[in-house]
């Protein structure tokens, strides 16, 4: 029975993406389309954390680091190369390499849980501090000034490979982002069905047993972490394109917090969940902005607390359970043993 829902879900997602690409642009105005584009881009970022956390059990507090690296790498590379194709490749590669180094450092040291959170948080703060202080002409990579706290403005948009003058317009940008989201989603689903993916999930369930079976858990966690970093980097590249601007706040605590909130609200342990959570929270934030009355932080804070206390599994798993009229499946995201205080 569950395979039916699985296949139905996969097909439904594809149809929705297709509809979004072909039909939606006729129905909404350009401004809404641009807003939706950034929701889609952020969903890709949400997927990156949803994958490593919900399935790998790796709660990274600094996923924004890879997001920011992707954005900055794209900006610097496209300004230097003139053509965006190489820049996109670098924007995925650099965060992936960074994740590989950081992951090696952490997983071979058997760091996990809280301590992994500390290290990843610290790393994104280091990046923030470093990039934030690069104001002034002295700080440039090739022909791209880093701009420090001012950021990098006027980032060239994606162009058709090989033809730098043929730049994507906002509609094409939207369609590209939706297609990318769909590809990432299906790609992650495929990965999770492979042996690699099954081992990663098993590690989250019982790392000791995985090792006793003969799998090197460190390598699998590293692999998952690198995939997460690459996807976040890709999202960063698209983000830099969307706004044609990037600034050091992209490495900040607030950005990392947002990603975690999206995944929690949507549902840890699913792939659809982070997308849903992201869309919901983004929409909420921008509605509040337009509304003017309530402070965005206040509402986000209330939402997060409410969800942790009342809907800890997130919207999608709880929704599925209600539909099937049974309890939501338990995904143990808290891998520490349930000990009493001290």
């Amino acid at each position: 029975m569950s395979t039916f829902w699985n296949r139905a879900g996969l097909a439904a997602f594809g149809l929705a993406a297709l509809a979004a690409v072909l039909v939606l642009p006729q129905l909404v105005e350009a401004f809404t389309l641009m807003e939706l584009t950034v929701y889609v881009v952020m969903s890709i970022l949400a997927l990156s954390l949803g994958f490593i956390w919900g399935f790998g059990g790796i709660l990274c507090f600094g996923q924004a680091a890879f997001f920011g690296l992707g954005a900055y790498t794209y900006a610097v590379a496209v300004m230097n190369l003139g053509d965006s194709t190489g820049a996109v490749l670098l924007a995925v590669l650099i965060p992936a390499v960074f994740a590989a180094v950081l992951g090696y450092f952490m997983f071979w040291g058997r760091i996990s849980d809280v301590y992994l959170g500390v290290i990843t948080l610290t790393v994104s703060l280091i990046l923030f501090n470093l990039v934030n202080s690069t104001a002034g002409d002295a700080y440039r990579i090739g022909s791209a000034p880093l701009g420090g706290f001012n950021g990098i403005p006027s980032i060239p948009t994606l162009n058709v490979p090989g033809q730098p003058e043929l730049v994507l317009d906002p509609l094409q940008m939207f369609q590209l982002c939706v297609v990318t989201l769909a590809l990432v989603y299906y790609g992650l689903r495929w990965l999770l069905a492979s042996r690699f993916g099954r081992v990663v999930v098993a590690i989250r369930e019982n790392e000791r047993r995985v090792e006793l079976l003969g799998y090197d858990a460190r390598k699998y966690k590293l692999g998952a972490f690198v995939v997460g970093g690459a996807v976040a980097g890709l999202a960063g590249c698209l983000f830099a394109n969307w706004g044609a601007f990037v600034s050091p706040t992209i490495f900040g605590l607030a950005q990392s917090a947002q990603i975690i909130i999206w995944v929690i609200v949507g549902g840890v342990g699913t792939l659809i969940g982070p997308i849903v959570g992201c869309f919901l929270i983004q929409w909420l934030t921008s509605s509040l902005g337009a509304f003017g009355g309530l402070n965005a932080n206040l509402v986000l804070g209330v939402v997060l607390v409410a969800f942790v206390l009342l809907v800890p599994r997130g919207l999608v798993p709880t929704g599925r359970a209600l539909l099937a009229r049974r309890r939501a499946p338990t995904v143990r995201v808290d891998r520490l043993p349930e000990t009493k205080a001290a």
Binding site: R198, V199, E211, L212, L213
Partner: protein, 251 residues
Amino acid sequence: MSAKENFHLVQTRGLGIDFGGVKAVQGVDFTLADGELRCVIGPNGAGKSTFFKLLTGQYRPTHGDVAIRGRSIVGMQTHEIARLGVGIKTQVPSVFNGLSVRENVWLSARRDRPPRLANEACDDVLERLELTGVRDRLVGELSHGQRQWVELGLVIATDPALVLLDEPAAGMSDEEVERTAELIRRINQRSALIVVEHDMPFIKMIAKTVTVFNRGQVLMEDTVDRVLADERVRDVYLGKQLHAELARQAA
């Protein structure tokens, strides 16, 4: 080639581990031949489970050496030792509760085999263990006995040369105990086994040679009947006073 054949499957020399003053295992010389079935008995705290953890690499010995087919495994990672052909069923079931029975066994079957052969091996193991009926159930939802069997499936699906079973009959009904004994005999056709147990009737069902542990050391090693008749073994299990009391009552 012949040099390799001269090595025992497992050989420990003066094996010991010190936990900050507590010598959980000390000076253990233990050998096991390919395809041999050995039972290990001893009172609680005798160091049996610790001994197992020294064989799987979960603990690193502070003294002595452990060799598998002549190759020292001291300092090797757990997963490397597992790949040498060592499988362990732990005292407390260690399985993947959130995954289905089939997925549990599949992860093991798929380790060294390509996808199609892995699926066949997986289905084969499930059949042998009579788990085919529950193959799609989540392991966390099964009974204790069934979870033990899933763990057995996990262990044998890689076809290991050495299978370590830590109290496989614990918490089982008489009927399940008999089935377990039968399964162990069948596993023995392909793998060597070391079985830690307390259940004496169960041991009599499966054992030929028995090693007795006490206080981290090997007390004696002999055939089942001689071990169970030995006074020292009874003292170690029941305590000298109780033994004396029983003797007095018999008189």
